[in-house]
């Protein structure tokens, strides 16, 4: 009977997980990300390369409005040096104001500024992209079923449409996209960016790097979350052992042959 009950607990949890995994497109490619698992961490160099890809390729259409430039230098992220972060921020024109005369003005960005968006608003972004709003990338990895695997798969999933599938102007075929139709063209091609660290910029490499960067952007707390989690669970396990032993001792006072 006890086993039966246990079985049900397991069944219950499995049911919960399965209901949340109902799929309707082909499964994304499984990548062995360094940030998966209990002690997963981001690959620092990959994050820095990923920022480069984002900045040079994605950022012309996709905003990242919830990130600040200072985040790029914080622990657990790309960890650019303070000077690098200042230089990155200064490369952007930020609209500020109003000044004492009531005028808006532009100035070079500071680390405390939010990432500058490519378009003034969602409608402008959609209008410039054939009616499809390029989604903000701050939490994109968390906002898609399949997370990092899905984003990576879409980036490398462009194909010629199978026979019988006709595509409208400005629509592309992608194996992993829901519905297989995507308005974003295949922007990655081998050698598109020149990595400072000499890594060869293949499509696969760039897709992995930028996905790593986006995963960090969506969960900048991931490393400290994992580290704290291990400590918390170790503490709880030790405490429960102590409490268990105390419980045994206390209950031994009660007549054992009930």
């Amino acid at each position: 009977m006890k086993k039966f009950k246990l079985l049900f607990c397991i069944l219950l949890s499995l049911t919960i997980f399965n209901t949340l995994k109902s799929a309707e497109q082909i499964d994304p490619i499984k990548v062995d990300w360094s940030f998966k698992g209990l002690l997963g961490k981001f690959d620092r160099a990959s994050l820095q390369r990923g920022y480069q890809v984002y900045n040079e390729v994605c950022a012309s259409c996709h905003s990242m409005q919830y990130l600040s430039y200072r985040n790029l230098g914080e622990p657990g992220g790309p960890e650019f040096s303070e000077e690098e972060v200042k230089a990155i921020a200064a490369g952007f024109e930020v609209t500020d104001g109003p000044d004492a005369q009531g005028e808006m003005f532009t100035r070079p960005g500071r680390p405390s500024d939010k990432f500058v968006s490519p378009y003034p608003n969602v409608n402008a972004a959609a209008a410039a992209n054939g009616g499809a709003y390029p989604p903000d990338m701050s939490v994109l990895v968390k906002a898609r079923k399949g997370g990092a695997n899905y984003i990576y798969s879409v980036l490398v999933g462009y194909e010629d449409p199978p026979p019988g599938v006709t595509l409208d102007e400005g629509v592309y075929y992608n194996k992993y996209m829901i519905g297989n139709k995507i308005k974003m063209p295949n922007n990655l091609s081998d050698g598109l960016v020149e990595y400072a660290d000499g890594t060869e910029a293949t499509v696969d490499q760039m897709a992995k790097d930028v996905t790593t960067f986006l995963s960090w952007a969506a969960e900048p707390e991931l490393e400290s979350r994992h580290k704290t989690g291990v400590k918390v669970i170790l503490y709880l396990v030790l405490l429960s052992i102590l409490v268990f032993l105390s419980m045994k001792k206390i209950w031994s006072r009660v007549n054992p042959e009930i």
């Binding site: 939490v139 968390k142 994992h226 989690g229 429960s240």
Partner: protein, 419 residues
């Protein structure tokens, strides 16, 4: 519950206690005689209290940083996640805490169903518990709306639209609930206000729930009344407190596992997309703990019928103590009911599963069969089994369940030994 009148030792204590008997209350709570054969399924009351307090404390902190406005809510949640010190931790505890709360409450409810804890003389405890459960669902639903993601918005739209099924006045009620002509900023602000209020109503009901419990005392795995308090019971402190603490720690390990290593696995990814009234998600699904009711709702082709059945599925539980005709409380001694209990568990799990699936084909068939069975269980099976079932011999007392030949004596004993 026979206990001696408590008299504080110190003079000041006595002076205070004569005016406000808080010390008597504390003494009652620590000495409260508890059946000594309670198993680990009885630890979920304490776990639920922990869950409620965790939600209240993390919720108060979150409310300090959250902005209840349709244009700002989503961004304020990201602000909490990124800029508030340990904001991610507080928010993940709160969001996963809701799931853990429901996990615990479902175990607590099914424990009551198995051991007949809802039966005389504990009907009021049961009804208060159901009121808490109803308020929990309301609080959880409104809380899920607050981040103002896609599932927040569309979940709110679906649920509030249910009220439009009421004949004649339905549409007016829905507009009144929204405070607008669709789910919009006024809906968000009132949901935030109510979401902050409800936990304190729950806290009040929890006090009544425990008060009502302390009148007849705890039920127990063998489901019989306490015969000899000195032999059958132990004082609540330290025996039950330490056992509850141990169970709570195990529960917290699972809780921490979700918070630190899979904080979003129980949520829907669409809720990280800001609410957009112009784009409907492919599937609108509620959080997992509401799925069985969602399945019942969608199993009926008629909207009003679906709403009635969905609420009926909860309200039928209110009359459960009078639907169950068996004189024996614990399923340990009810061989037939025991089978039906597990079938009900499976039925609810199946309903939860199909609730997450599109309402078509085999899923719709399963939902209908599951719904019919759910009501059948309470309306037909329970009363009939109570009359016809030949129950097994019940022990004479908790401390001496000596009835040779009883097949389940070994089990009752095992339950005791587990302590």
């Amino acid at each position: 519950m026979s206990e001696q009148e408590y008299v504080p030792k110190s003079k000041a204590g006595k002076w205070f206690n004569d005016r406000l008997p808080l010390l008597s209350l504390a003494s009652h709570l620590t000495d409260y005689p508890t059946p000594k054969n309670l198993n680990y399924w009885w630890t979920f009351g304490g776990i639920l209290t922990f869950c409620l307090l965790t939600q209240i404390i993390t919720g108060i902190v979150l409310a300090m940083h959250y902005v209840a406005h349709a244009d700002l809510a989503f961004a304020s949640v990201e602000h909490i996640m990124r800029d508030v010190n340990y904001g991610w931790l507080i928010r993940y505890i709160h969001s996963n805490g809701a799931s853990m709360f429901f996990l615990a409450v479902y175990i607590h409810i099914f424990r009551s169903l198995f051991y007949g804890s809802y039966k005389s003389p504990r009907e009021i405890i049961w009804i208060l518990g159901l009121m808490i459960y109803l308020l929990m669902m309301a609080a959880a639903f409104m809380g899920y709306v607050l981040p103002w993601g896609q599932m927040s918005f569309w979940g709110a739209t679906v649920i509030t639209n249910l009220f439009s099924a009421i004949p004649l006045i339905g549409d007016s009620i829905t507009t009144w609930l929204w405070g607008a002509y669709s789910v919009d900023n006024p809906t968000l602000t009132r949901f935030f206000s109510l979401h902050y209020l409800i936990p304190f109503l729950i806290l009040g009901l929890v006090v009544l729930h425990i008060w009502a419990l302390h009148v007849p005392g705890n039920n127990n795995p063998v489901g019989i009344d306490i015969k000899k308090p000195s032999k059958d019971t132990v004082p609540f402190h330290p025996y039950i407190t330490i056992k509850d603490a141990f169970a709570l720690l195990l529960f917290m390990i699972i809780f921490a596992g979700f918070v630190f290593f899979a904080p979003n696995v129980l949520g829907h990814s669409d809720n990280y997309i800001q609410a957009n009234p112009m784009v409907t998600p492919a599937h609108i699904v509620p959080e997992w703990y509401l799925l069985p009711f969602y399945a019942i709702l969608r199993s009926v082709p008629d909207k009003l019928g679906g709403v009635i059945l969905m609420f009926g599925a909860i309200f039928i539980l209110f009359v459960l103590p009078w639907l169950d005709t068996s004189k024996v409380r614990s399923a340990v001694f009810r061989p037939i009911y025991r089978q039906f209990f597990w079938i009900l568990v499976i039925d609810v799990l199946v309903l939860g599963y199909v609730g997450a699936m599109p309402a078509e084909g085999i899923y719709l068939v399963l939902a209908r069969v599951g719904t019919i069975y759910y009501f059948l269980h309470f309306i037909v099976i329970l009363p009939v089994v109570g009359y016809l079932e030949k129950t097994e011999p019940v022990p004479l007392s908790i401390s001496d369940p000596v009835l040779s030949g009883s097949a389940d004596y070994s089990m009752a004993k095992k339950d005791n030994e587990k302590i």
